[in-house]
Symmetry: C2
Subunit: 133 residues, 2 copies
């Protein structure tokens, strides 16, 4: 007899379900700074301060926090070298590389579609201005 007794099927992960853990995973990889950190590390490994310069606008605090979250999820590998001055290298794990390739595709798409989006916004705002009282 298959699956006798206790064993139950778990429901398949579903991001549309509020309680599904997959939603948390998705929110980490699509987070404001998570996207950019993954995208940067796809190019190559970076040290902390290199990454801070590469991802313009991120604060030390948010970069550290984002890296910890990504490391905990298994996307980023952190290598601290016990030298003076301290040196810490960050790179992608194989799992992180998968995520990074998907977010990088989205990032490049966003770069390419800036003109269309800008045009759409102008049209929308012009139309709203007419409609408005």
């Amino acid at each position: 007899m298959e699956n006798a007794g206790i064993v139950r099927e778990l429901p398949p992960p579903n991001v549309f379900d509020r309680m599904c853990p997959s939603r948390g995973v998705l929110e980490h990889v699509t987070s404001r700074w998570g996207v950019l950190v993954l995208g940067a590390l796809l190019e190559r490994g970076y040290r902390f301060s290199e990454l801070r310069r590469r991802v313009s606008g991120v604060s030390e605090k948010m970069l550290a926090q984002t890296l910890q979250t990504l490391e905990r999820d298994g996307f980023v590998r952190r290598e601290a070298h016990p030298v003076i001055p301290p040196r810490v290298d960050y790179s992608l794990t194989p799992l992180g590389r998968e995520a990074a390739e998907l977010v990088a595709a989205l990032a490049h798409w966003s770069e390419r579609r800036v003109p269309e989006v800008a045009a759409s916004r102008e049209e929308y705002d012009a139309r709203a201005a007419v409609t408005a009282p």
Copy 2:
């Protein structure tokens, strides 16, 4: 003579640049509810209240706000039918479909990788518990 006088090359869009408009586009499509709305609309068109049920956890306010943002960016088409009771249909534009396919890939990936991420978190937390004072 090409490009005589005034005309300058615009810098290519770069999401890593804090001032680049592509970053705003990326933040809209990767926003907490934007991702899920795009993903849902990739399946089929939805009415407002259908969408609210499909994207579990979203409030009316955030759904309305997200839909407006996506409509303004040219990703979502809004069709209001002047009937009683009111009926409004939302669907993807061709541009929105491109974005939705990319975010859906990320969403499905997140669903598939839940086990790996959960395992990584457990290991991380166990290691942190040992290291901690």
